[in-house]
């Protein structure tokens, strides 16, 4: 489970499954096909942004929150930590993202 939105050492990256996704954007929704599970997922723009950002490099929660706030600035609301936790957890459950170094760094 994702930790708090504060000074977490956890950084997240795409899993192999997350890297091989097929994408289709429809209106304001994204449809993803995950070949490793043969499942089709519907995700929102913020979840899609998280996946796109993690495809570039591993990113920690705090940075992700700031990047999301910047990306969706025109919406006028800052992302709350609980919402970010929810989306991160969901993407982890689907096996699309994973922690890079959080556990080893805390040992």
């Amino acid at each position: 489970m994702a930790q708090s939105h504060g000074e977490s050492l956890d950084r997240f990256c795409l899993t192999d499954s997350g890297q091989e996704l097929l994408w289709q954007k429809w209106d304001d929704a994204f449809v993803l096909f995950q070949p490793s599970s043969a499942e089709t997922h519907f995700i929102n723009e913020i979840s899609a942004f998280i996946l796109e950002r993690l495809a570039q490099e591993p990113v920690g929660l705090e940075t992700l929150g700031k990047l999301i706030d910047m990306e969706f600035e025109q919406v006028g609301e800052k992302i709350i930590p609980e919402a970010l936790d929810f989306w991160i957890n969901r993407l982890e459950e689907l096996g699309l993202i994973d922690r890079v170094d959080g556990i080893s760094a805390s040992l």
Binding site: W26, P35, T40
Partner: protein, 305 residues
Amino acid sequence: MRVNDCTAVQIKRLLKSSEFNVQLGPFQIRIFSNIASLVPLLSQLYHFYPVVRQDSISDLHIKIAYPRGLRHWYRRQAVFSIDGGQPFAPYAIEHAFPALEWGINWCIATRAHHLLMLHSAVVERNGHAILFPAWPGHGKSTLCAALVFSGWRLLSDEFGLVRPEDGVLLPIPRLIPLKNESIDVIRQFCPEAVIGPSFFKTRKGTVAHVIPPEDSIHRMDEPAKPRWLIFPRWVANAPLSLEPIPKSQAFLMVATNAFNYEVLDQTAFRLVTDMVKDCDCYSLVYSDLNQAVTAIDELTRSNHG
């Protein structure tokens, strides 16, 4: 050669020797039966369909016959079987023909995984097809029957067969089964339609089968490109509504409506994505068949190409 080139005696002999081999769209279906009452029904309702050479390879070997043993004598039933298995409980002998039709559909839906199969009616005009994906009871077959007697070619009232290689729709212009009130609705809408006998108290109520126009059967090897996705729903006394819907919603509805989306994995995702991209997507709510047919006609004429 077509079924109507055969006499009743010939059809009976072909059925009894497992040589009644008909072409239904992309499938060759070989039927065995010892039920004499099927002969006039097949002669009447299948008379436009091609009979295939006996030495060709059939896709499905189907049997609809009296049960074996004593049951044959004390209880008149029809048993549908394929490859030695009996997927359904025996039917009353009077329902042998609708049982055959349902059984063929079931066999296609559970076996033809070389194609993406949508649960959808499909009609075509000027090379452009409309798909009507819908759940049972949403008025798909009734609307489809009305359209094919209003200038549209029938590809199917049940299957949107999508060829993976190029995404085109393959016709399978089978008989259109109508249920209950729909039978009289179509009789009034298109008196020229040839409708077979009504089968009462079947597992789906009263059922009768519409013979597709001869042209649709004659052109069963001409595929069509999907152009419109219209999700129909018949609602008693509802005013007509034909409204665009978001493509994300259309994608979800098509994917969940397919018989074998999960089986085809990535191929199905790609085919449904391409189809939704290529199609204008609408939701149709109707109660008056004339209004629905007119609205579809206007939509497709004004938005053609």
